[in-house]
Symmetry: C2
Subunit: 430 residues, 2 copies
């Protein structure tokens, strides 16, 4: 299962490694944030749960192997390779930063220490699974920060890159600090608060706005949030005010949100509905939210969709997955890749976090009093301990984001890592 | 199954429609390209296959219903609503443009004619499923066009918004004209050509580049494409030239692709390898490809990943899903929504394509000699006929894209549609 959800070259290389007798050689691959997404000073790591699910279940069905056997690129694969794939399981070790950890440019998210083939096949899935949730958690953190204490409700599933991505986007948004999501499946799967009341189609399906509002109150009671901009926002606010309680609040989804929220606030207050909340939505992101907050618009919550779920200003992350050490104990080699713009730091590494800076070291080093961020998650193919749930991860992220992380946090290399870098730089590939 | 993969408000509205006795009322929802993505003059419709899979399997499990019953928003739902959900199946009709159809701003992709609740619940999934593949097929068309006859190989799964989105991105890219994908599962599921040979980790895992190249030739024979930029691109080209045939070509993944491709071409030609192809990759998109093509760089194929699979310059599409008619035959109402920037054209509609323009009509109209683009796909909850496969869809798109579609293609409204718009404009919602 899931064995084919990878780039074909991972499988042709696997066949080649097998032919070269390299399948018993151990390698360490490192998943690193090589370039930060545009407009980001750091990222919030997320997506590890899916990497783990994938690795624990990674295998090839008979039909999948038959398909591969029919591909011209694999016609010369050794017969033993097909038996190897049929029995394939991930047997390696995963060290990863916990979800909800803040990471900077050049920092590792995960080490995969496994037989070369196993680490190679996993590349494509791990990059996409961790890349997407990290992207959205990082965007969410910015949006939540801009809202300065007001709630952010994520409702971007309809704009996600597939509905299923919307479920994971909802999870990542929650980790990044959103108060909840509209995605019901995300609530079911991950225990995230789910929110939402009614759309314009609800209002339009009744003969009048008043009837639609009344019906909603009957259903939702004090959770009622009326969408008031279907016809005329201020008229809608007056209708909501006339109907009064039970009422949680109103939502404005179009127009000049600053101006309208002020006028709606007055209408609600004059009706004695001072506790009724005003929520706004419509192509919002951190810069628009910051403007509304700074202008003092009386807004209690923002609904954010498209911009959050697709991380629209930076829809991809420069994460890479590179082999940093090959060979079994006692005979480890360090690959050298000299393309100037695509420099890889050799060796299996650890990342230590100290109060004012981070230190990148060899995996075998220890810095007393510092937090070792790469923690064992899978050892010998088995999960070390249950993963934290979305609420625990969100707490970790909330702590890491308060106070707001500085840009360009310093990261040192340990003397031993520096020595290894120097040593490898001296080697010339043939 | 899949019943919870929707926004909670679709389900609260469903409970409200049920309470209001509206679950037996028919509604037509229209999925429309309200705004084109940035930098796009048109889109290539895709994703219908997933919409169909979803609708044919849409249901709620017992556990899912229990979860919903525990949500405060649904505490007041009528007991009959839970029975209704337990027996829920999609029973409506779908009319949709075939995948691979070129569409312009304001044109409908799909009509959903179904009991109000069924159409409402499906909104979120349909928008995301059709939105994402349409986005990628449209981006692919631009990239393929820029390559002016050279091959585009899609290999963006690692940057997709989840690995699973990568599979659908591969399919959409192929529909948009890519020659193939690196995504093995997309090949298995959709019969798309899969391509790919080896990565830098392959080269680095051997003691020398020459050994890595030799091993690859032994495995891939005349499908061998050497990745030559691990250490030094021109040295890599010389090594490949020295090893000679069997060889399909070489790939350059970094550096000045124009300059390097010329120098590599000379090296290969001087070794008599004139038929060996040069493929380039590295953050490519349509504008960079166009520059390389115009400069006359001797490049035979482009590998495109991130920019294609995430449609990075325009990572979302302004598709909307709006109710356009409510009520059973003889008692149809047309919803009016007067937010100025979010205008909806009333009525169930058909879109006719003529040589130089399109005509939007009522669904019941006919224009002889013109192609009616919205075709029946599901009637009464049943698939009308098997959907075309990815190759057939790609052929349709290829025809539609040749000659390259003009921007701002005119679209008229039929007199009957115009009359309906006027009539509805005259009505004032209460």
């Amino acid at each position: 299962m899931n064995g084919l959800l990878t780039d074909l070259y991972e499988l042709t290389m696997a066949a080649g490694y097998f032919a070269a007798g390299k399948h018993e050689e151990t390698a360490t691959f490192e998943l690193t944030i090589r370039r930060l997404p545009k407009n980001r000073d750091f990222v919030v790591a997320a997506g590890l749960h899916r990497a783990v699910d994938y690795l624990l279940n990674l295998s090839f069905t008979e039909d999948e192997i038959k398909y591969l056997q029919g591909l011209p690129s694999l016609h010369n694969a050794e017969p033993g390779f097909w038996d190897y794939l049929a029995g394939f399981r991930f047997t390696g070790d995963i060290f990863a930063v916990p979800e909800g950890t803040v990471l900077y440019q050049g920092q590792p998210v995960m080490n995969v220490r496994a037989p070369l083939i196993e680490g190679q096949i996993a590349e494509t899935y791990l990059l996409a699974a961790i890349g997407y949730e990290t992207l959205v958690a990082s965007k969410a953190a910015r949006i939540v920060h801009a809202a300065a204490g007001r709630d952010i409700i994520e409702f971007g599933t309809r704009r996600a890159h597939t509905p299923e991505a919307g479920v994971l986007g909802a999870r990542a948004g929650y980790i990044g600090g959103c108060a909840g999501t509209s995605n019901t499946l995300a609530g079911y799967l991950y225990g995230i608060p789910v929110l939402g009341t009614a759309a314009h189609s609800w209002v339009m399906s009744f003969a009048s706005e008043a009837e639609a509002f009344e019906r909603l109150q009957r259903l939702l009671g004090d959770r009622t949030v009326h969408l008031i901009d279907t016809y005329d926002t201020l008229e809608g606010a007056r209708t909501a005010a006339r109907l009064g309680r039970p009422l949680r609040g109103v939502r404005i989804d179009s127009g000049d949100l600053d101006q309208l929220s002020r006028e709606v606030r007055v209408i609600l207050d004059q009706a004695g509905l001072t506790e009724a909340r005003i929520m706004v939505s419509g192509d919002l992101e951190e810069s628009k939210i910051e403007l509304l907050v700074k202008a003092g618009a009386p807004i209690d919550a923002f609904g954010v969709g498209t911009e959050l779920t697709t991380s629209a200003d930076a829809p991809n992350i420069g994460a890479v997955y590179k082999v940093v050490a090959i060979g079994n104990t006692g005979n480890v080699r360090y690959p050298v890749k000299s393309s100037p713009e695509k420099h890889t730091i050799p060796g299996a590494k650890q990342l230590f976090r100290l109060p004012d800076h981070d230190v990148l070291t060899l995996a075998t080093e220890c810095i007393s009093g510092a937090e070792a961020l790469l923690q064992p998650v899978i050892l010998g193919g088995n999960l070390v301990q249950p993963l934290p749930n979305a609420n625990q991860i969100r707490e970790r992220a909330t702590k890491a984001l308060n106070p707001w992380p500085v840009a360009n946090r310093p990261m040192e290399h340990s003397p031993k890592l520096t020595a290894l870098i120097e040593q490898v730089r001296g080697e010339t590939p043939k």
